[in-house]
Amino acid sequence: MRAEPALPQGTHPMTALTREMKASYAFIERNFFLSRRYWGWEIAFLVYSAAGALSISLIGAQAGDPRLILTLMVGAIFWNYLSVVFSWIAETISIERWEGTLEYTMMAPVHRSTHLLGAVAYAMVYGLIHTAAILVAVVLFFPNLSFEHANIGTIAGFMVLGSFSFVGIAMLAAILPLLYVERGAQMTFVLQSVLLLVSGVYYSIDVLPGWMQVISHLSPATYALDGVRKGLIDGVPLSALWGDIWPLLVMGVVFIPFGLWAFSRAERYAKRHGKLKRVG
Protein backbone atom coordinates (compact mmCIF):
# COMPACT_ATOMS: atom_id res chain seq x y z
CA MET A 1 0.00 0.00 0.00
CA ARG A 2 1.48 3.33 -1.00
CA ALA A 3 0.82 6.53 0.83
CA GLU A 4 -0.76 9.14 -1.37
CA PRO A 5 -0.32 12.64 -0.04
CA ALA A 6 -1.92 14.33 -3.03
CA LEU A 7 -5.53 15.22 -2.36
CA PRO A 8 -8.14 15.67 -5.02
CA GLN A 9 -8.60 19.37 -5.60
CA GLY A 10 -12.30 19.29 -6.37
CA THR A 11 -14.37 16.61 -4.73
CA HIS A 12 -17.70 15.82 -6.35
CA PRO A 13 -20.56 16.52 -3.95
CA MET A 14 -21.92 12.99 -4.38
CA THR A 15 -18.50 11.55 -3.63
CA ALA A 16 -18.32 13.61 -0.47
CA LEU A 17 -21.87 12.60 0.47
CA THR A 18 -21.10 8.93 -0.18
CA ARG A 19 -17.99 9.16 1.96
CA GLU A 20 -19.98 10.72 4.80
CA MET A 21 -22.68 8.08 4.49
CA LYS A 22 -20.06 5.34 4.63
CA ALA A 23 -18.47 6.94 7.65
CA SER A 24 -21.88 7.22 9.28
CA TYR A 25 -22.47 3.55 8.58
CA ALA A 26 -19.17 2.79 10.35
CA PHE A 27 -20.76 3.85 13.64
CA ILE A 28 -23.90 1.84 12.95
CA GLU A 29 -21.89 -1.28 12.15
CA ARG A 30 -19.55 -0.82 15.11
CA ASN A 31 -22.44 -0.40 17.53
CA PHE A 32 -24.04 -3.50 16.06
CA PHE A 33 -20.78 -5.39 16.61
CA LEU A 34 -20.75 -4.15 20.21
CA SER A 35 -24.37 -5.23 20.81
CA ARG A 36 -23.60 -8.63 19.30
CA ARG A 37 -20.48 -9.07 21.41
CA TYR A 38 -22.34 -8.05 24.59
CA TRP A 39 -25.33 -10.28 23.80
CA GLY A 40 -25.54 -11.56 27.38
CA TRP A 41 -25.88 -8.01 28.65
CA GLU A 42 -28.45 -7.25 25.94
CA ILE A 43 -30.63 -10.13 27.13
CA ALA A 44 -30.24 -9.07 30.75
CA PHE A 45 -31.21 -5.51 29.83
CA LEU A 46 -34.22 -6.75 27.88
CA VAL A 47 -35.43 -8.83 30.84
CA TYR A 48 -34.86 -5.87 33.17
CA SER A 49 -36.81 -3.52 30.90
CA ALA A 50 -39.66 -5.98 30.37
CA ALA A 51 -39.90 -6.63 34.11
CA GLY A 52 -39.99 -2.89 34.77
CA ALA A 53 -42.75 -2.33 32.21
CA LEU A 54 -44.79 -5.21 33.63
CA SER A 55 -44.35 -4.01 37.22
CA ILE A 56 -45.65 -0.59 36.37
CA SER A 57 -48.52 -1.94 34.26
CA LEU A 58 -49.58 -4.19 37.14
CA ILE A 59 -50.38 -1.10 39.21
CA GLY A 60 -53.21 -0.54 36.73
CA ALA A 61 -54.24 -4.19 37.01
CA GLN A 62 -54.47 -3.87 40.79
CA ALA A 63 -56.77 -0.88 40.34
CA GLY A 64 -58.91 -3.00 37.98
CA ASP A 65 -58.79 -0.27 35.36
CA PRO A 66 -57.90 -1.38 31.79
CA ARG A 67 -57.45 2.22 30.72
CA LEU A 68 -54.96 2.81 33.53
CA ILE A 69 -53.10 -0.35 32.50
CA LEU A 70 -52.80 0.99 28.96
CA THR A 71 -51.78 4.44 30.18
CA LEU A 72 -49.03 3.01 32.37
CA MET A 73 -48.00 0.50 29.72
CA VAL A 74 -47.54 3.24 27.15
CA GLY A 75 -45.58 5.27 29.66
CA ALA A 76 -43.29 2.37 30.54
CA ILE A 77 -42.74 1.13 26.99
CA PHE A 78 -42.42 4.46 25.27
CA TRP A 79 -40.21 5.86 27.99
CA ASN A 80 -38.04 2.78 27.59
CA TYR A 81 -37.75 3.56 23.88
CA LEU A 82 -36.81 7.18 24.45
CA SER A 83 -34.37 6.20 27.19
CA VAL A 84 -32.64 3.69 24.93
CA VAL A 85 -32.34 6.22 22.10
CA PHE A 86 -31.15 8.85 24.54
CA SER A 87 -28.60 6.51 26.14
CA TRP A 88 -27.04 5.31 22.89
CA ILE A 89 -26.53 8.85 21.66
CA ALA A 90 -25.47 10.28 25.00
CA GLU A 91 -23.05 7.39 25.53
CA THR A 92 -21.43 7.84 22.13
CA ILE A 93 -18.59 9.66 23.84
CA SER A 94 -18.50 7.84 27.15
CA ILE A 95 -18.16 4.42 25.49
CA GLU A 96 -15.17 5.64 23.52
CA ARG A 97 -13.66 7.28 26.54
CA TRP A 98 -14.07 4.06 28.49
CA GLU A 99 -12.37 2.06 25.74
CA GLY A 100 -9.70 4.71 25.16
CA THR A 101 -10.53 5.07 21.47
CA LEU A 102 -11.92 8.60 21.64
CA GLU A 103 -8.77 10.25 20.29
CA TYR A 104 -8.67 7.92 17.30
CA THR A 105 -12.27 8.64 16.41
CA MET A 106 -11.75 12.37 16.84
CA MET A 107 -8.69 12.17 14.57
CA ALA A 108 -10.59 10.47 11.77
CA PRO A 109 -11.67 12.57 8.77
CA VAL A 110 -15.32 12.52 9.78
CA HIS A 111 -17.60 15.46 10.39
CA ARG A 112 -19.14 15.42 13.82
CA SER A 113 -22.62 15.57 12.29
CA THR A 114 -21.78 12.35 10.42
CA HIS A 115 -20.52 10.80 13.63
CA LEU A 116 -23.66 11.70 15.55
CA LEU A 117 -25.97 10.76 12.66
CA GLY A 118 -24.54 7.24 12.77
CA ALA A 119 -25.09 7.08 16.51
CA VAL A 120 -28.67 8.33 16.14
CA ALA A 121 -29.54 5.89 13.35
CA TYR A 122 -28.31 2.90 15.32
CA ALA A 123 -30.00 4.16 18.49
CA MET A 124 -33.37 4.36 16.74
CA VAL A 125 -33.15 0.92 15.13
CA TYR A 126 -31.93 -0.63 18.38
CA GLY A 127 -34.62 1.19 20.35
CA LEU A 128 -37.39 0.00 18.03
CA ILE A 129 -36.30 -3.64 18.23
CA HIS A 130 -35.83 -3.47 21.99
CA THR A 131 -39.21 -1.81 22.49
CA ALA A 132 -40.99 -4.21 20.17
CA ALA A 133 -39.69 -7.14 22.23
CA ILE A 134 -40.96 -5.53 25.45
CA LEU A 135 -44.29 -4.73 23.85
CA VAL A 136 -44.74 -8.37 22.88
CA ALA A 137 -43.89 -9.48 26.43
CA VAL A 138 -46.37 -7.04 28.00
CA VAL A 139 -49.17 -7.84 25.55
CA LEU A 140 -48.70 -11.56 26.19
CA PHE A 141 -48.89 -10.85 29.92
CA PHE A 142 -52.20 -8.99 29.55
CA PRO A 143 -54.03 -11.09 26.91
CA ASN A 144 -57.39 -9.54 27.71
CA LEU A 145 -56.37 -6.01 26.88
CA SER A 146 -58.12 -4.64 23.84
CA PHE A 147 -56.21 -2.73 21.17
CA GLU A 148 -59.07 -2.61 18.70
CA HIS A 149 -59.16 1.18 18.70
CA ALA A 150 -55.40 1.60 18.30
CA ASN A 151 -54.29 3.77 15.42
CA ILE A 152 -50.98 2.34 14.25
CA GLY A 153 -50.22 5.36 12.06
CA THR A 154 -50.50 7.73 15.00
CA ILE A 155 -48.32 5.53 17.20
CA ALA A 156 -45.63 5.17 14.52
CA GLY A 157 -45.79 8.86 13.70
CA PHE A 158 -45.21 9.89 17.30
CA MET A 159 -42.43 7.33 17.71
CA VAL A 160 -40.61 8.98 14.82
CA LEU A 161 -41.41 12.52 15.90
CA GLY A 162 -40.48 11.77 19.49
CA SER A 163 -37.13 10.32 18.44
CA PHE A 164 -36.46 13.26 16.15
CA SER A 165 -37.10 15.79 18.88
CA PHE A 166 -35.12 13.80 21.45
CA VAL A 167 -31.98 13.63 19.30
CA GLY A 168 -30.91 17.21 19.92
CA ILE A 169 -31.29 16.81 23.69
CA ALA A 170 -29.31 13.58 23.56
CA MET A 171 -26.55 15.39 21.65
CA LEU A 172 -26.45 17.96 24.42
CA ALA A 173 -26.19 15.11 26.92
CA ALA A 174 -23.28 13.63 24.92
CA ILE A 175 -21.34 16.79 25.69
CA LEU A 176 -21.20 15.97 29.38
CA PRO A 177 -18.76 13.02 29.08
CA LEU A 178 -16.68 15.17 26.76
CA LEU A 179 -16.29 17.92 29.34
CA TYR A 180 -16.47 16.01 32.61
CA VAL A 181 -14.05 13.17 32.24
CA GLU A 182 -14.73 11.19 35.40
CA ARG A 183 -18.47 11.57 35.96
CA GLY A 184 -19.80 12.95 32.71
CA ALA A 185 -21.60 9.74 31.79
CA GLN A 186 -23.40 9.64 35.13
CA MET A 187 -24.42 13.27 34.75
CA THR A 188 -26.50 12.36 31.71
CA PHE A 189 -28.72 10.34 34.06
CA VAL A 190 -29.66 13.57 35.83
CA LEU A 191 -30.99 15.00 32.60
CA GLN A 192 -32.85 11.78 31.87
CA SER A 193 -34.43 11.64 35.33
CA VAL A 194 -35.60 15.26 35.14
CA LEU A 195 -37.28 14.51 31.81
CA LEU A 196 -38.92 11.47 33.43
CA LEU A 197 -40.19 13.61 36.28
CA VAL A 198 -41.74 16.40 34.25
CA SER A 199 -42.93 14.60 31.09
CA GLY A 200 -46.01 12.84 32.48
CA VAL A 201 -44.66 9.39 31.80
CA TYR A 202 -46.75 7.65 34.46
CA TYR A 203 -49.16 10.39 35.47
CA SER A 204 -50.82 13.44 34.02
CA ILE A 205 -48.72 16.58 34.08
CA ASP A 206 -51.74 18.26 35.70
CA VAL A 207 -50.64 16.83 39.06
CA LEU A 208 -47.31 18.69 38.85
CA PRO A 209 -46.78 22.04 40.60
CA GLY A 210 -47.34 24.99 38.31
CA TRP A 211 -43.68 25.80 37.78
CA MET A 212 -42.97 22.18 36.92
CA GLN A 213 -45.78 22.15 34.40
CA VAL A 214 -44.05 25.02 32.62
CA ILE A 215 -40.91 22.89 32.36
CA SER A 216 -42.94 19.90 31.18
CA HIS A 217 -43.94 21.87 28.08
CA LEU A 218 -40.26 22.07 27.14
CA SER A 219 -39.88 18.29 27.17
CA PRO A 220 -40.56 16.51 23.87
CA ALA A 221 -41.55 13.40 25.81
CA THR A 222 -44.64 15.22 27.12
CA TYR A 223 -46.07 15.62 23.60
CA ALA A 224 -44.82 12.29 22.28
CA LEU A 225 -46.40 10.33 25.14
CA ASP A 226 -49.65 12.23 24.85
CA GLY A 227 -49.79 11.49 21.13
CA VAL A 228 -48.99 7.78 21.53
CA ARG A 229 -51.61 7.40 24.27
CA LYS A 230 -54.30 9.08 22.24
CA GLY A 231 -53.41 6.94 19.24
CA LEU A 232 -53.23 3.65 21.14
CA ILE A 233 -56.11 4.02 23.57
CA ASP A 234 -58.56 6.28 21.78
CA GLY A 235 -57.54 5.69 18.16
CA VAL A 236 -57.16 9.38 17.45
CA PRO A 237 -55.73 9.95 13.96
CA LEU A 238 -52.46 11.78 13.49
CA SER A 239 -54.19 14.64 11.69
CA ALA A 240 -56.19 15.44 14.82
CA LEU A 241 -53.13 15.79 17.01
CA TRP A 242 -51.51 18.87 15.52
CA GLY A 243 -51.25 20.37 19.00
CA ASP A 244 -48.78 17.62 19.91
CA ILE A 245 -47.08 17.48 16.51
CA TRP A 246 -45.94 21.04 16.03
CA PRO A 247 -44.05 21.35 19.34
CA LEU A 248 -42.17 18.14 18.47
CA LEU A 249 -41.31 19.46 15.01
CA VAL A 250 -40.15 22.78 16.43
CA MET A 251 -38.07 21.07 19.11
CA GLY A 252 -36.44 18.82 16.54
CA VAL A 253 -35.66 21.69 14.19
CA VAL A 254 -34.28 23.81 17.02
CA PHE A 255 -32.59 21.21 19.24
CA ILE A 256 -30.71 19.22 16.57
CA PRO A 257 -28.77 22.14 15.05
CA PHE A 258 -28.29 23.56 18.53
CA GLY A 259 -27.03 20.18 19.77
CA LEU A 260 -24.56 19.95 16.88
CA TRP A 261 -23.37 23.50 17.43
CA ALA A 262 -22.98 22.98 21.17
CA PHE A 263 -21.15 19.69 20.61
CA SER A 264 -18.67 21.31 18.24
CA ARG A 265 -18.05 24.08 20.79
CA ALA A 266 -17.53 21.48 23.50
CA GLU A 267 -15.13 19.53 21.29
CA ARG A 268 -13.10 22.66 20.71
CA TYR A 269 -13.06 23.36 24.45
CA ALA A 270 -11.93 19.79 25.12
CA LYS A 271 -9.13 20.16 22.57
CA ARG A 272 -8.02 23.45 24.09
CA HIS A 273 -7.86 22.00 27.58
CA GLY A 274 -6.57 18.53 26.72
CA LYS A 275 -9.69 16.67 27.84
CA LEU A 276 -9.79 14.15 25.01
CA LYS A 277 -6.83 12.12 26.12
CA ARG A 278 -7.94 10.96 29.52
CA VAL A 279 -9.79 7.72 29.96
CA GLY A 280 -12.71 7.94 32.34
Binding site: A3, E4, E29, R30, G100, E103, P109, H273, G274, K277
Partner: protein, 313 residues
Protein backbone atom coordinates in the same frame (compact mmCIF):
# COMPACT_ATOMS: atom_id res chain seq x y z
CA UNK B 1 14.06 21.13 11.13
CA UNK B 2 14.89 19.69 7.78
CA UNK B 3 15.89 16.08 7.68
CA UNK B 4 18.12 16.79 4.76
CA UNK B 5 19.57 20.16 5.58
CA UNK B 6 20.88 19.83 9.09
CA UNK B 7 24.29 18.35 9.59
CA UNK B 8 25.14 19.89 12.93
CA UNK B 9 22.93 20.41 15.93
CA UNK B 10 22.04 24.01 16.52
CA UNK B 11 21.83 25.42 20.00
CA UNK B 12 22.70 28.41 22.10
CA UNK B 13 25.31 28.62 24.82
CA UNK B 14 22.79 27.73 27.48
CA UNK B 15 21.83 24.64 25.58
CA UNK B 16 18.54 25.90 24.20
CA UNK B 17 17.73 26.22 20.55
CA UNK B 18 18.71 29.41 18.83
CA UNK B 19 15.63 30.57 16.91
CA UNK B 20 17.81 32.54 14.50
CA UNK B 21 19.37 29.30 13.33
CA UNK B 22 16.08 27.59 12.59
CA UNK B 23 15.41 27.15 8.91
CA UNK B 24 12.98 29.70 7.57
CA UNK B 25 9.83 27.67 6.97
CA UNK B 26 8.62 30.03 4.30
CA UNK B 27 11.86 29.77 2.36
CA UNK B 28 12.21 26.08 3.00
CA UNK B 29 8.69 25.22 1.95
CA UNK B 30 9.46 25.85 -1.68
CA UNK B 31 12.94 24.50 -2.26
CA UNK B 32 14.45 23.70 -5.62
CA UNK B 33 13.45 20.25 -6.88
CA UNK B 34 15.97 17.67 -5.84
CA UNK B 35 16.07 14.05 -4.83
CA UNK B 36 16.41 13.01 -1.22
CA UNK B 37 18.97 10.21 -1.09
CA UNK B 38 18.65 7.77 1.74
CA UNK B 39 15.19 8.90 2.82
CA UNK B 40 12.96 6.38 1.11
CA UNK B 41 11.93 6.71 -2.51
CA UNK B 42 13.48 9.53 -4.45
CA UNK B 43 10.87 12.17 -4.79
CA UNK B 44 10.86 15.68 -6.08
CA UNK B 45 10.76 17.96 -3.07
CA UNK B 46 7.37 19.51 -2.64
CA UNK B 47 5.89 20.89 0.55
CA UNK B 48 7.30 19.47 3.73
CA UNK B 49 5.62 16.34 5.03
CA UNK B 50 5.40 18.20 8.31
CA UNK B 51 6.08 21.79 9.15
CA UNK B 52 5.84 22.90 12.76
CA UNK B 53 6.38 26.64 13.02
CA UNK B 54 6.93 28.30 16.41
CA UNK B 55 4.24 26.29 18.14
CA UNK B 56 3.34 26.99 21.75
CA UNK B 57 0.80 25.22 23.92
CA UNK B 58 -0.17 26.13 27.46
CA UNK B 59 -2.53 24.41 29.86
CA UNK B 60 -4.44 26.11 32.62
CA UNK B 61 -4.19 23.75 35.57
CA UNK B 62 -5.95 25.79 38.25
CA UNK B 63 -8.14 28.85 38.33
CA UNK B 64 -5.73 31.13 40.17
CA UNK B 65 -2.46 29.73 38.83
CA UNK B 66 -0.43 30.70 35.82
CA UNK B 67 -0.85 28.39 32.82
CA UNK B 68 1.77 25.70 32.43
CA UNK B 69 3.69 25.85 29.18
CA UNK B 70 3.79 22.34 27.74
CA UNK B 71 5.30 23.26 24.37
CA UNK B 72 7.30 26.45 23.92
CA UNK B 73 8.13 27.93 20.53
CA UNK B 74 8.88 24.60 18.87
CA UNK B 75 9.74 24.51 15.18
CA UNK B 76 10.68 21.58 13.00
CA UNK B 77 10.49 20.43 9.44
CA UNK B 78 10.25 16.89 8.14
CA UNK B 79 10.76 16.15 4.48
CA UNK B 80 8.68 13.54 2.70
CA UNK B 81 9.97 10.04 3.36
CA UNK B 82 12.05 11.09 6.37
CA UNK B 83 11.86 10.11 10.02
CA UNK B 84 12.25 12.45 12.96
CA UNK B 85 12.84 10.98 16.39
CA UNK B 86 11.73 12.99 19.41
CA UNK B 87 13.47 12.28 22.68
CA UNK B 88 12.73 13.71 26.08
CA UNK B 89 12.02 12.84 29.67
CA UNK B 90 8.51 12.10 30.88
CA UNK B 91 6.57 15.34 30.84
CA UNK B 92 8.92 16.99 28.38
CA UNK B 93 6.11 17.54 25.89
CA UNK B 94 6.62 14.71 23.38
CA UNK B 95 3.07 13.41 23.44
CA UNK B 96 1.64 16.92 23.61
CA UNK B 97 3.54 17.76 20.44
CA UNK B 98 2.16 14.63 18.74
CA UNK B 99 -1.35 15.58 19.85
CA UNK B 100 -0.92 19.10 18.51
CA UNK B 101 0.15 17.71 15.14
CA UNK B 102 -2.79 15.27 15.26
CA UNK B 103 -5.26 18.08 15.83
CA UNK B 104 -6.28 16.61 19.18
CA UNK B 105 -5.15 19.80 20.89
CA UNK B 106 -5.58 23.35 19.69
CA UNK B 107 -2.54 25.54 19.10
CA UNK B 108 -2.09 28.58 21.30
CA UNK B 109 0.55 30.04 19.00
CA UNK B 110 2.23 29.07 15.77
CA UNK B 111 1.09 26.88 12.91
CA UNK B 112 1.37 23.31 11.70
CA UNK B 113 1.20 22.17 8.10
CA UNK B 114 1.03 18.65 6.75
CA UNK B 115 2.03 18.41 3.09
CA UNK B 116 1.22 22.10 2.76
CA UNK B 117 -2.20 21.83 4.40
CA UNK B 118 -2.77 23.97 7.47
CA UNK B 119 -4.15 21.83 10.29
CA UNK B 120 -6.58 24.52 11.43
CA UNK B 121 -7.91 25.80 8.11
CA UNK B 122 -7.80 22.46 6.26
CA UNK B 123 -8.59 20.12 9.09
CA UNK B 124 -10.27 17.40 7.02
CA UNK B 125 -7.52 17.37 4.39
CA UNK B 126 -4.89 16.92 7.10
CA UNK B 127 -6.90 14.22 8.86
CA UNK B 128 -6.93 12.16 5.66
CA UNK B 129 -3.14 12.32 5.50
CA UNK B 130 -2.17 11.35 9.02
CA UNK B 131 -2.60 8.55 11.48
CA UNK B 132 -1.17 7.82 14.86
CA UNK B 133 -0.07 4.92 17.00
CA UNK B 134 0.10 5.72 20.69
CA UNK B 135 1.73 3.97 23.59
CA UNK B 136 -1.56 2.44 24.66
CA UNK B 137 -3.13 0.32 21.97
CA UNK B 138 -6.68 1.60 22.34
CA UNK B 139 -9.36 -0.64 20.92
CA UNK B 140 -12.88 -1.80 21.58
CA UNK B 141 -11.53 -4.67 23.61
CA UNK B 142 -14.53 -6.96 23.20
CA UNK B 143 -14.44 -6.60 19.43
CA UNK B 144 -12.05 -8.53 17.25
CA UNK B 145 -9.09 -6.96 15.48
CA UNK B 146 -10.97 -7.34 12.20
CA UNK B 147 -14.04 -5.54 13.57
CA UNK B 148 -11.89 -2.77 15.02
CA UNK B 149 -9.96 -2.32 11.80
CA UNK B 150 -13.11 -2.40 9.67
CA UNK B 151 -14.48 0.44 11.76
CA UNK B 152 -11.29 2.45 11.31
CA UNK B 153 -11.21 1.75 7.59
CA UNK B 154 -14.79 2.89 7.06
CA UNK B 155 -14.07 6.15 8.87
CA UNK B 156 -11.38 6.79 6.27
CA UNK B 157 -13.70 5.89 3.39
CA UNK B 158 -12.17 2.49 2.61
CA UNK B 159 -14.53 -0.20 1.32
CA UNK B 160 -14.95 -3.18 3.62
CA UNK B 161 -13.74 -5.71 1.01
CA UNK B 162 -10.48 -3.87 0.49
CA UNK B 163 -10.16 -3.27 4.23
CA UNK B 164 -10.53 -6.99 4.97
CA UNK B 165 -7.92 -7.95 2.37
CA UNK B 166 -5.48 -5.30 3.53
CA UNK B 167 -6.02 -6.22 7.18
CA UNK B 168 -5.10 -9.81 6.46
CA UNK B 169 -2.09 -8.78 4.39
CA UNK B 170 -0.71 -6.27 6.88
CA UNK B 171 -1.28 -8.39 9.96
CA UNK B 172 0.27 -11.42 8.25
CA UNK B 173 3.33 -9.32 7.61
CA UNK B 174 3.35 -8.46 11.30
CA UNK B 175 3.28 -12.14 12.19
CA UNK B 176 -0.34 -12.32 13.32
CA UNK B 177 -2.16 -15.44 12.23
CA UNK B 178 -5.44 -14.90 10.38
CA UNK B 179 -7.36 -17.00 12.91
CA UNK B 180 -6.54 -14.43 15.62
CA UNK B 181 -8.28 -11.66 13.70
CA UNK B 182 -11.68 -12.96 14.79
CA UNK B 183 -10.97 -13.16 18.52
CA UNK B 184 -11.66 -10.32 20.93
CA UNK B 185 -8.72 -7.95 21.22
CA UNK B 186 -8.70 -8.46 24.99
CA UNK B 187 -7.48 -12.03 24.40
CA UNK B 188 -4.37 -10.85 22.56
CA UNK B 189 -1.04 -10.11 24.20
CA UNK B 190 0.12 -6.52 24.68
CA UNK B 191 2.66 -6.92 21.90
CA UNK B 192 0.09 -8.28 19.52
CA UNK B 193 -2.33 -5.48 20.35
CA UNK B 194 0.36 -2.95 19.54
CA UNK B 195 0.97 -4.64 16.19
CA UNK B 196 -2.76 -4.44 15.49
CA UNK B 197 -2.61 -0.74 16.36
CA UNK B 198 0.14 -0.28 13.80
CA UNK B 199 -1.88 -2.24 11.26
CA UNK B 200 -4.86 0.03 11.94
CA UNK B 201 -2.75 3.08 11.20
CA UNK B 202 -1.26 1.59 8.04
CA UNK B 203 -4.65 0.50 6.75
CA UNK B 204 -5.48 4.13 6.04
CA UNK B 205 -2.25 4.68 4.06
CA UNK B 206 -1.10 7.66 6.10
CA UNK B 207 1.37 9.91 4.35
CA UNK B 208 2.45 11.10 7.78
CA UNK B 209 2.63 8.49 10.50
CA UNK B 210 2.86 9.63 14.11
CA UNK B 211 4.33 6.97 16.36
CA UNK B 212 4.07 7.93 20.01
CA UNK B 213 6.22 5.46 21.94
CA UNK B 214 5.04 2.52 19.84
CA UNK B 215 7.36 0.00 21.49
CA UNK B 216 7.07 1.07 25.13
CA UNK B 217 6.15 -1.88 27.29
CA UNK B 218 6.78 -4.51 24.65
CA UNK B 219 8.95 -7.56 25.21
CA UNK B 220 12.27 -7.58 23.30
CA UNK B 221 10.97 -9.83 20.55
CA UNK B 222 7.83 -7.79 19.93
CA UNK B 223 9.86 -4.61 20.09
CA UNK B 224 12.22 -5.90 17.43
CA UNK B 225 9.29 -6.97 15.23
CA UNK B 226 7.74 -3.53 15.47
CA UNK B 227 11.04 -1.75 14.80
CA UNK B 228 11.70 -3.91 11.76
CA UNK B 229 8.24 -3.18 10.49
CA UNK B 230 8.72 0.55 10.94
CA UNK B 231 11.88 0.30 8.87
CA UNK B 232 9.91 -1.52 6.21
CA UNK B 233 7.24 1.18 6.21
CA UNK B 234 9.94 3.79 5.67
CA UNK B 235 11.45 1.88 2.81
CA UNK B 236 8.41 0.59 1.00
CA UNK B 237 5.47 2.82 1.79
CA UNK B 238 6.64 6.37 1.23
CA UNK B 239 5.44 7.33 4.67
CA UNK B 240 7.05 10.15 6.61
CA UNK B 241 7.36 9.34 10.29
CA UNK B 242 7.48 11.21 13.56
CA UNK B 243 8.63 8.88 16.32
CA UNK B 244 8.72 9.56 20.04
CA UNK B 245 10.52 7.03 22.15
CA UNK B 246 12.38 6.41 25.37
CA UNK B 247 14.49 3.78 23.67
CA UNK B 248 17.66 5.55 22.61
CA UNK B 249 18.88 2.69 20.44
CA UNK B 250 15.54 2.68 18.69
CA UNK B 251 15.72 6.41 18.09
CA UNK B 252 19.20 6.07 16.65
CA UNK B 253 18.26 3.12 14.48
CA UNK B 254 15.06 4.54 13.03
CA UNK B 255 15.58 8.30 12.87
CA UNK B 256 17.29 10.44 10.26
CA UNK B 257 17.14 13.38 12.62
CA UNK B 258 16.52 13.66 16.32
CA UNK B 259 15.20 16.49 18.41
CA UNK B 260 15.55 16.51 22.17
CA UNK B 261 12.75 18.17 24.13
CA UNK B 262 13.16 19.42 27.67
CA UNK B 263 10.38 21.28 29.48
CA UNK B 264 8.60 21.75 26.17
CA UNK B 265 11.54 23.33 24.37
CA UNK B 266 13.88 21.92 21.77
CA UNK B 267 17.29 21.81 23.41
CA UNK B 268 19.16 19.89 20.74
CA UNK B 269 18.56 18.70 17.24
CA UNK B 270 20.53 16.99 14.52
CA UNK B 271 21.37 13.61 13.11
CA UNK B 272 22.18 10.90 15.67
CA UNK B 273 25.80 10.93 14.53
CA UNK B 274 26.05 14.70 14.81
CA UNK B 275 24.52 14.76 18.28
CA UNK B 276 26.87 12.06 19.53
CA UNK B 277 29.85 13.86 18.03
CA UNK B 278 28.76 17.09 19.68
CA UNK B 279 28.49 15.69 23.20
CA UNK B 280 31.89 14.08 22.76
CA UNK B 281 33.60 17.20 21.44
CA UNK B 282 31.84 19.90 23.44
CA UNK B 283 31.09 18.11 26.69
CA UNK B 284 33.72 15.39 26.78
CA UNK B 285 31.09 12.68 27.13
CA UNK B 286 31.12 9.26 25.55
CA UNK B 287 29.71 9.47 22.02
CA UNK B 288 26.48 7.66 22.80
CA UNK B 289 22.79 8.52 22.62
CA UNK B 290 22.65 8.00 26.37
CA UNK B 291 25.17 10.82 26.80
CA UNK B 292 23.12 12.98 24.46
CA UNK B 293 19.99 12.35 26.51
CA UNK B 294 21.73 13.04 29.83
CA UNK B 295 23.49 16.15 28.57
CA UNK B 296 20.42 17.85 27.14
CA UNK B 297 17.73 16.74 29.55
CA UNK B 298 19.87 16.95 32.68
CA UNK B 299 18.89 13.49 33.82
CA UNK B 300 19.63 9.89 33.05
CA UNK B 301 17.13 7.59 31.51
CA UNK B 302 17.13 5.54 34.75
CA UNK B 303 16.05 8.61 36.71
CA UNK B 304 13.34 9.20 34.15
CA UNK B 305 12.02 5.68 34.54
CA UNK B 306 12.05 6.06 38.33
CA UNK B 307 10.18 9.35 38.05
CA UNK B 308 7.60 7.69 35.85
CA UNK B 309 7.21 4.89 38.39
CA UNK B 310 6.70 7.46 41.17
CA UNK B 311 4.13 9.26 39.04
CA UNK B 312 2.28 5.99 38.57
CA UNK B 313 2.21 5.43 42.32
Amino acid sequence: MSSTMLQEPKMTQDGSIDPAQLPNPAAASNPAPTSVPGLGPDVARGPAALLVDRVTKRFKVARKKQPVTAIADVSMRLERGGTIGILGANGSGKSTLIRLISGLLTLDEGRVEVFGHDIVREEMAVKRLINRVSVDAAFFKKLSPMENLLFAARLYGIDSGLARRETVRITERLGIAQKRLGRPVEQLSRGMQQKIAIARALLTSPALLLLDEPTTGLDPRSKLDVQTFIEEIRTNHDASIVLTTHDLDEAERLSDEIIVLNDGRIVAEGSPAALKRLVAERHGEAPTMHSVFMTYTGRSLDEDVEAAAEDDE
